[in-house]
């Protein structure tokens, strides 16, 4: 049975037709059978792999500008993209990796956020961040990895994920990871995730909340400021 309703599929088909410009590839990583112990940091089974894979295929079926590519977590492609947990999705634009990652199924409020990300990537309009944010990001000289922990029922979370993704679009030093907290309980507990959106940078606590863009960018950079300085 289809995951997306007929009505939503129709709506998305038209929206994609109007707005997609450049080709998007949704690279999916998962595991087909669940009887193996998986090399992930978290649970030993992948409850939502099948659904996530199906969702990517359904999206690909809605536009000529979207294709889905599925790989096993053991495939060397996983290493190429630095994939650490499954299910994972890496959206590519014209084959280019912009540093955006989804860990866990983008359902609930995150689904709309993912559609927006696909459309923005495909539009080729860049990050749409303010010039202040772009300035701040241009000072980065080391890679940073932003983890945004979310739950699908959190209405504030997509705003935080989107801002982190835009930072990744703007700077090649930034990787932005949406992490569905329920699907990775061990990682969430390790990071003391008790409210979402919860943001960490290079594994360090940054802040909680869907802050406005300026404060968000500042909060992310402040969390790793000392390491940035060390490298100067």
């Amino acid at each position: 049975m289809a995951l997306l309703s007929k009505e939503d599929s129709e709506f998305l088909k038209n929206k994609f037709e109007e707005e997609l410009v450049r080709k998007i590839t949704l690279v999916y990583f998962g595991k087909e059978s669940s009887d193996l112990v998986l090399p992930t940091e978290d649970s030993t089974e992948c409850r939502y792999c099948e659904a996530t894979h199906q969702l990517m295929e359904e999206l690909a079926g809605l536009s000529e500008n979207i294709e889905a590519n599925a790989f096993d977590i053991d495939d060397e492609e996983a290493e190429k993209y630095g994939i650490r947990m499954i299910p994972a999705i890496v959206p590519l634009v014209e084959g280019e990796d912009k540093g955006i990652r989804y860990y866990g199924i983008p359902s609930g409020y995150e689904f709309g956020g993912m559609i927006e990300t696909i459309i923005q990537l495909s539009s080729g309009e860049g990050s749409r961040l303010s010039s202040e944010s772009l300035d701040a990001l241009s000072k980065l000289s080391i890679p940073i990895s932003i983890d945004v922990f979310i739950t699908p029922t959190c209405p504030y979370c997509p705003t935080a994920v989107m801002t982190a993704h835009r930072m990744a679009m703007a700077s090649e030093y930034v990787t932005s990871n949406m992490i569905e907290a329920n699907e990775f309980p061990v990682l969430s507990t390790q990071n003391n995730v008790y409210s979402v959106p919860h943001i960490t940078v290079n594994g360090r606590y940054a802040f909680v909340g869907a802050l406005p863009e300026r404060e968000f960018v500042e909060g992310v950079l402040n969390a790793v400021m000392d390491t940035i300085r060390d490298k100067d």
Binding site: S107, P158, N182, N192
Partner: protein, 323 residues
Amino acid sequence: MFDFRLTGERIQDNRFDVVIIGGGPAGLSAAIYAGRARLKTLLLEKTATGGQITLTEYIENYPGFEEPILGTTLAEKMEKQAQRFGAKIHYAEVTSVKLKDDEKKIYISDENDNPITSRAVILAMGASPRKLRVSGEEEFTGKGVSYCGPCDAPLFKDKYVIVVGGGDTAIEESLFLTKFARRVSVVHRRNKLRATAILQERAMANPKIDFIFNSVVREIKGDAKVESVIIENLKEGKGKEVKCDGIFIFVGLEPETGLIKNEVECNDNGFVLTNEDMETNVKGVYAVGDIRAKSLRQVVTAVSDGAIAAMSAYKYITSNSPR
């Protein structure tokens, strides 16, 4: 099993007849009515449409839906309905407004220099949870102190949590929390709940929920995260420390008036004052829903406000038409 929510669109033009700030039920209802009146309508929302109904699981008292409807589903239906009548819905945070002139100016986060202009503005920013104002609350916000049930309840699987409050929201969220938490204690300062009777009955019948009446939380303690709270019994005047994993606070609302404090007249509690046509003291500016001074804050009263404001705006615009 899964739910997939879709969101907004981009704006091509920045002159409107009506701009609605806030996409909760009041704002969406105003958008439906303004759209049907063929006013060029823009609704601005900073996070997700639905406002506080997205922070509750089911809506059971909105007439016409005999079975409980998910707050998120009701919001989605209202959003699509507004779009069907031509209202544009755009996701952006409003950073400032100038409302006193005939041409109202609205500045949003992603278009810093060029304001959106409009002939009428409907304020529908709603309200946000009130803080308890006790020691440890701010320090542990996001570290075990929460104001959002749907957001954070799934993170408290098999844990023991305290809920503060005795109104509808506190009881609804306590019931939602029992899906995840192993035990929920409701701390309420009075000797009985204020929540609607049917919610009280359900909470009383739920084996995971217990009640600590005549009591308040005086302090929230912990190290890296919440580990305990000090609960004071008001009758005995004695406090005791209770170990817990988290505390959810639902003790009323504060109006979201940061943007407009100096633009329109508000009451002592900060809620916007309007007449029965939803007009504020500024011409062409209306206030609807939870941001407005009123006695009953429900979806059904919010959508009523929205409809009235849209029609008032329509009359204002057509009778002051420069065309």
